[in-house]
């Protein structure tokens, strides 16, 4: 084995060990976890998963998360598509400043917006609703979408637009029937990244919700801080939060770097 393969193998093992351990613990009973140190579950059980799927306070966390994440992805894409087109095709007064301002919002620490968001959404009566979290996550997802989509749209030659307009297409008809199909992989990648960044965020989602829209991430931290540590259920809940990402990752594998670098690689 060449040394470089050794490095790669060691790194992959380093990545996989903690994940394996989480999976391993999710199939153990609490007695086994605390009683004996075992490398694989001797007393194999699905009980931990059963707890999550039968207890409404657990599985509603997943439902809430999925609702606001989906809402956020839809809102972000809807507003970002025309804007990205404008940035990729036209220059207009203040375009560079606007583009930079969008970037600052992607990079802004959520902690800075914590308190004002809490008061803003409380005062307009949206506290503890899914739409509040979805709108709050737009803070970083809309700029992200604009940046990624602009990257993809700039790859489409401008002659296509001009030909379509000469052929008598109106702008909305051109955009929906010709342009969108051409950048559909870009739209897919953008949707994936909106979904992901909204799915992994905890601070804002936890602050803006209390009961009805509480995300799974917040329910997990609550269990951690409670005295009765139910390690098995905690591990099972963790495994279930990884699954949505793991399911779609194969399809976006060639675009991951692009998405994280705001479409600039």
């Amino acid at each position: 084995m060449k040394p470089r393969h050794f490095l790669l193998a060691a790194y992959v093992v380093f990545l996989m060990l903690p994940l394996y351990w989480l999976l391993n613990m999710s199939f153990k009973t609490n007695e086994e976890i605390l009683g004996a140190f075992t490398l694989f579950p001797h007393d194999f059980t699905f009980d931990n998963y059963r707890v999550i799927f039968t207890d409404a306070s657990w599985y509603m966390g997943y439902v809430n998360s999925i609702i606001y994440v989906t809402l956020n992805t839809l809102i972000s894409l809807t507003v970002a598509l025309p804007a990205a087109y404008a940035f990729s095709r036209y220059t207009f007064v203040g375009d560079k400043h606007l583009f930079f301002w969008l970037l600052t919002n992607r990079m802004a620490p959520p902690a800075v917006f914590l308190l004002p968001f809490f008061q803003l959404y409380s005062s307009i009566g949206l506290f503890d609703t899914h739409i509040a979290v979805a709108l709050a996550h737009c803070l970083f997802n809309v700029p992200l979408s604009v940046w990624i989509l602009e990257g993809f749209m700039s790859g489409v030659p401008k002659e296509i637009d001009e030909t379509a307009f000469i052929d008598g297409y109106s702008f909305p008809r051109f955009f929906v029937t010709i342009f969108l199909p051409m950048i559909r992989s870009g739209v897919g990648v953008t949707a994936f990244f909106c979904f992901m960044f909204s799915w992994v965020e905890l601070l804002l989602a936890r602050t803006l919700t209390s009961v009805n829209a509480k995300p799974i991430a917040a329910i997990m931290t609550r269990t951690v801080s409670a005295s009765g540590m139910d390690w098995g259920v905690l591990a099972a809940a963790g495994v279930l939060t990884i699954i949505p990402g793991a399911l779609v990752i194969w399809f976006v594998r060639n675009h991951i770097a692009k998405g994280f670098a705001l479409g600039r690689v």
């Binding site: 490095l7 030659p157 670098a261």
Partner: protein, 290 residues
């Protein structure tokens, strides 16, 4: 691409502008408002000028958090950038293995941040976690919940686990963009592996690495969920970084004035690095067009 000048394009941008203004400008103005007033009740507030700023800048706790934050972000860069480059260099360029490894590397990036904390919380425990047991088996007295050094080490290793893949993926896509002709020329010249890396690969990676450095710096600068779950900022305050200090001040103690002043200073630091990031990216875009 040459762009046409057209101010009607503003209509296309308007929805984004309205939405982001609602979720960025309104809250930011609230913060500015709070940072210069002392608020006792809804109708009872006093203008205090720069007092909160003075208080914040002299607060020892915050200074230490800021220092801790810079040390942490620098440590993250020093470890993750070389490791990421090394991993990217050792990855196969194409084929089934390349796809599989891409997927495996990307996996930690898609895990909710607090679950990353949970994973390491379990993994690092000396009694029930594999990692903790392994370290203890080496004869090291390891406990991340009690010993500040162990806590730091665990938070750092966790961040390396979580984000090195990002650096590796960025570098990988940079390496893939180098034409084969460069390698052939190097082989004809009889260049060693090191020479190929130093004079062919590294210069070509420059742009991607800049992005990687800036992204990693900015994201580690606002790290919150992972250490919050893993150590809760402890033991003591040894792993309390800026975001957590701010969250504690704002939502824990409801010290509106100082929290707002702190937010603005924090935001300005981020803004500065953002500008660096933007100029770099725009320079990069211009370089590609030529």
């Amino acid at each position: 691409m040459t762009k046409t000048e057209n101010n009607r394009a503003w209509f296309l941008v308007l929805p984004v502008f309205a939405l982001v203004a609602f979720s960025a400008i309104v809250p930011l103005m609230t913060v500015v408002n709070y940072s210069v007033q002392d608020i006792f009740g809804p109708d009872n507030r006093v203008f205090v000028g720069a007092e909160w700023y003075r208080e914040i800048l002299q607060d020892d706790r915050l200074r230490r958090a800021l220092l801790r934050q810079f040390v942490f972000s620098l440590a993250v860069l020093v470890i993750e950038i070389p490791l990421g480059i090394a991993v990217a260099l050792s990855m196969p360029r194409r084929g089934r293995w390349a796809s599989l490894i891409l997927v495996v590397l990307a996996l930690p990036l898609l895990i909710p941040w607090n679950v990353v904390g949970t994973i390491w919380q379990i993994f690092g425990r000396a009694d029930i976690g594999l990692g903790g047991v392994l370290v203890t088996a080496l004869g090291i007295d390891y406990n991340y919940a009690a010993n500040p050094f162990d806590a730091w080490a665990t938070v750092l290793v966790m961040d390396v686990w979580h984000w090195t893949s990002l650096v590796a993926l960025l570098c990988f896509s940079g390496l893939k963009a180098i034409p084969d002709a460069y390698y052939q020329a190097a082989r004809i010249d009889g260049a060693s592996n090191w020479a190929v890396f130093r004079y062919v690969q590294l210069p070509k990676l420059g742009n991607v690495l800049l992005i990687a450095v800036l992204l990693r710096f900015m994201d580690s600068f606002m790290i919150y969920s992972e250490p919050f779950v893993l150590t809760g900022g402890g033991p003591g305050n040894s792993t309390t970084f800026l975001s957590q200090t701010l969250a504690r001040l704002a939502v824990g103690q409801f010290d509106l004035g100082p929290a707002a002043a702190f937010s603005l200073i924090y935001f300005l630091i981020i803004l500065l690095f953002c500008w660096l990031f933007y100029t770099t990216m725009m320079q990069l875009g211009r370089g590609q067009q030529q």
